[in-house]
């Protein structure tokens, strides 16, 4: 184990490896910032460029890309209300609200710090889990995964603001939209209107999210005019202010720990990733937060959103390295990269190639930390973006929305989805609905369906499977507790 670590550290001492790490981080950041791109696309494009590198340098390169894009995605989420990746979906709620208050620098600093710390915790768990990683991986079957997703779904109760019934209807509509297309279990086409070109494969996350958030905000701003933030406030941006923002992350240790735990567990569970942990952690923190500004520009909300999605990356690596089960699409590409470089990934990797495991660990760490450092370094300048008049910035935002939507699959129908979801998002917000339950329903719906149906196939239709497995039962009890807590709390408050 320690020989492997020494090999990985030795490689790190070479200047070209350090250069490659910096390069990979920048590429990941750029991919994250551009809506529609993420670590998966960046890594896939980067794969052939690793052919000329030695094995360890190549893995450092790919790992650093894998862990840097998520923070990159928070930059556009905060500055222009477009989540750069699906894992930044809830970052927009507090991040962009802070930007509108003229606190983009503070929001970016909090995001950078929470991302780095969350990522480091995730990676620390990965390292700590090495001796039991295979055991951990096998604990998450379909019943456990369903209960984990159910835990996320019950948080809709907290996400609903104002009219609870209408909020739940919104969440239900989000879930229904996630079920469109080819069933992941049965292969049956649902609600696809007979389409063989688009809806048969469901509604894609990125075109949908950039529409709901980015385009809807562009429509609103276009009608309103002015600038997203007040020029005077941003112009006061100072290094000390950014540092204060970074330090602010430490004021929410409970939210941070809770969110990183959610992030890591979601990462270990196969088939669900950063987008799920992001909404789960955000909605759970909404329940525990005492900040009246939560969802309207709260630092705590940003900490929850950005620590969880980065913690997921370390969790994703556990089943990947322990068993050859890619914990996420990015980890699947990393596995492909390892295979192309002569390292077949499987249960033997942690026994026979510990140096590779350590290279992945250090690569993920470097990408995570460097991306946040770069983010902090450029915050003073990019935080001024929202002060640009809408007349100048809106065409760029709208272009980014459509390019991001189209870039994922180069499918014009994706642009149609963006337009529809943008209009829908605009009216949701205009008529006082929070988009959060809608987004939770959309992002968790298909994961819940897959795990639920698989579980019933295993048990031949008996729902007791969810209670027979200890971990599944434990998660169910937690979900019940989380679900009834707000009811109990409101009753206690009424009686008092």
């Amino acid at each position: 184990m320690f020989e492997g670590m020494a090999t990985a550290i030795l490689a790190l001492s070479q200047p070209h490896v350090i250069g490659i790490l910096i390069l990979g981080t920048i590429i990941g950041l750029v991919a994250g910032v551009l809506p529609g791109l993420g670590n998966v696309q960046a890594m896939a494009v980067a794969l052939p460029f690793t052919f000329g590198m030695d094995r360890i340098t190549a893995i450092y390169f790919l790992s650093s890309i894998a862990s840097s894009a998520t923070f990159g995605g928070s930059i556009t989420a905060i500055l222009i209300n477009i989540p750069g990746t699906p894992a930044n979906a809830t970052t927009v709620f507090d991040g962009y609200a802070m930007t509108k208050r003229g606190e983009a620098d503070r929001a970016l600093a909090i995001s950078a710090t929470a991302s780095a710390l969350g990522g480091l915790v995730g990676i620390a768990v990965l390292v700590g889990a090495i001796p039991i990683a295979q055991w951990m991986t096998l604990q998450f079957g379909p019943p456990e995964t369903f209960m984990l997703v159910l835990l996320g779904l019950v948080t809709i109760a907290y996400a609903v603001q104002g009219n609870v019934v209408l909020g739940l209807v919104t969440a239900g509509v989000g879930m229904l939209l996630s079920l469109i297309g080819n069933s992941p279990v049965t292969g049956v086409y649902r609600f696809s209107l007979g389409s063989k070109q688009y809806l048969w494969d469901g509604i894609q996350q990125i075109p949908f999210l950039v529409g709901v958030f980015g385009l809807s905000e562009a429509i609103r701003c276009g009608m309103q005019g002015g600038a997203a933030a007040q020029v005077g406030e941003i112009a006061r941006t100072k290094l000390s202010g950014i540092l204060r923002g970074a330090v602010e992350t430490f004021r929410y240790p409970y939210t941070f720990v809770q969110s990183t735990i959610v992030g890591v567990i979601v990462g270990i569970a196969p088939g669900i990733g950063g987008s799920v942990s992001n909404v789960m952690a955000y909605a759970l923190a909404a329940q525990t937060s005492k900040d009246p500004m939560y969802g309207k520009g709260s630092a705590e909300g940003l900490v929850a959103a950005e620590s969880s999605n980065n913690a997921t990356i370390g969790g994703d690596a556990i089943p990947t390295l322990a068993f050859g089960i890619p914990g996420s699409a990015a980890m699947a590409v990393l596995m492909g990269g390892l295979t192309l470089h002569g390292v077949a990934v499987g249960p033997w990797l942690m026994k026979e190639h510990m140096e590779i495991v350590w290279v992945v660990v250090f690569g993920l760490t470097a990408g995570n930390v460097l991306s946040s450092v770069f983010g902090l370094l450029v915050t003073r300048w990019i935080a001024r973006l929202p002060t640009v008049p809408m007349a100048l910035i809106l065409p760029i935002v709208v272009m980014l929305v459509f390019v991001g939507s189209f870039a994922v699959r180069q499918n014009f129908w994706d642009i149609g989805v963006t337009v529809c979801s943008g209009v829908l998002g605009y009216f949701l917000i205009r008529y006082g609905f929070s988009p959060l339950p809608f987004i939770i329903g959309f992002l968790l719906g298909d994961a819940a369906e897959l795990a639920f149906l698989q579980s019933l196939h295993i048990s031949q239709g008996s729902p007791l499977i969810f209670l027979n497995h200890p971990l599944s039962l434990g998660l169910f009890l937690v979900a019940v507790a989380v679900g009834i807590y707000p009811l109990l709390r409101s009753r206690v408050i009424k009686e008092a």
Partner: protein, 331 residues
């Protein structure tokens, strides 16, 4: 190892690529002098990046240009969706000028077509087949807590044997094996990839899985127990595991990755590509790269590929109603 300066150059190109396209596409080789082939050839692989077929396709795309006139640039694009149908459809709709080469698992493409009918959106027999690779026998393997050691044990179990399945290929081959051997079965679908299905097997979600030999071989130390290889002869990786034929059931079920062109592609272009692929599979550097990735290099020329495709089509046609029935039960 590349010198740092070359790495920087590569990275600059990569950043430019990222800025211009978001697809997981990659470029190999350089565009050269004009030839019958287009200056850029795109390989369409219908499944996600990272798996065995994807890695094989990427290695071919990387090394093939030196055997093609004009040394064209090559690109790999993962056109994912609808269980692999979207990618094959994409090739079917592409211009037949050699600019797009499909790469797909033959049994996957065929079983999709047979189970979906017109909904598949393509007719595999209309494609211009080039060559194929990654040929492997399919296997049957049991979980560590099951008592099964041979195919007959599945018959004698007294209940429907549960299989964790990922998609069309393992489902179709499970149905065919069950029909030939004569054991009842039930499918547990929805596993996103063979490693997840094997994890399900080890966890006890199901009793048996059916995957390719090289893949299954990776999990023997974890407790996966092979009980049959669907091949004519024993494999050197598993000399002690009897074939289905030896156990009295003449099953010969294989997978392969086939390279193909859209319908109507000119013969001249097809022949140039066939010749290039044939030479590629004699290239020591390329074959070493395949071995280094953990695969056994295999190659079948056009005639053999067509024969295998026809054989598979016949097989799937014979069991089409059984496969559809099994799929309907899952529904």
């Amino acid at each position: 190892m590349l010198r740092p300066s070359l790495n920087v150059l590569a990275a600059m190109t990569l950043v430019s690529l990222l800025a211009t396209t978001g697809r997981p596409t990659v470029a190999y080789g350089q565009a050269g002098k004009p030839s019958a082939l287009p200056s850029t050839i795109t390989f369409i692989f219908p499944l996600a990046a990272g798996g065995g077929g994807d890695v094989q396709t990427r290695l071919v795309a990387r090394h093939l240009p030196k055997y093609l006139p004009g040394n064209p640039a090559t690109v790999v694009r993962n056109e994912v969706g609808a269980g692999g149908r979207a990618g094959v459809q994409y090739v079917a709709r592409s211009k037949p000028d050699g600019s797009v080469i499909g790469a797909a698992y033959t049994p996957g493409a065929l079983s999709n077509q047979i189970t979906s009918g017109a909904d598949a959106g393509y007719d595999f027999s209309k494609f211009v087949l080039l060559t194929s690779t990654y040929h492997q026998a399919y296997t049957v393997a049991a979980g560590p807590k099951t008592p099964y050691n041979k195919l007959d044990d599945l018959k004698k179990a007294g209940h429907a044997i549960s299989f964790c399945v990922t998609g069309d290929i393992d489902m179709a081959y499970t149905v065919i094996a069950a029909k030939v051997v004569g054991f009842p079965f039930r499918l547990i679908p929805g596993y996103k990839g063979a490693p997840l299905a094997v994890a399900g097997l080890l966890r006890g979600d199901c009793e048996v899985v059916s995957f390719s030999l090289e893949f299954t071989n990776r999990y023997l130390k974890e407790g996966v127990r092979p009980i049959a290889v669907h091949a004519e002869e024993r494999d050197k990786l598993w000399p002690n595991v009897p074939t289905s034929k030896e156990q009295g059931y003449p099953l010969d079920l294989k997978i392969d990755v086939v390279f193909f062109l859209p319908q109507g592609s000119p013969v001249e272009i097809a022949n140039v590509l066939r010749e290039g692929l044939t030479k590629l599979y004699q290239d020591k550097e390329f074959l070493d790269a395949i071995r280094a990735a953990g695969f056994t290099p295999t190659f079948a020329d056009t005639k053999r590929t067509q024969q295998m495709g026809a054989g598979l089509f016949e097989l799937f046609s014979k069991y089409a109603s059984d496969i559809r029935e099994a799929a309907a039960k899952v529904h």
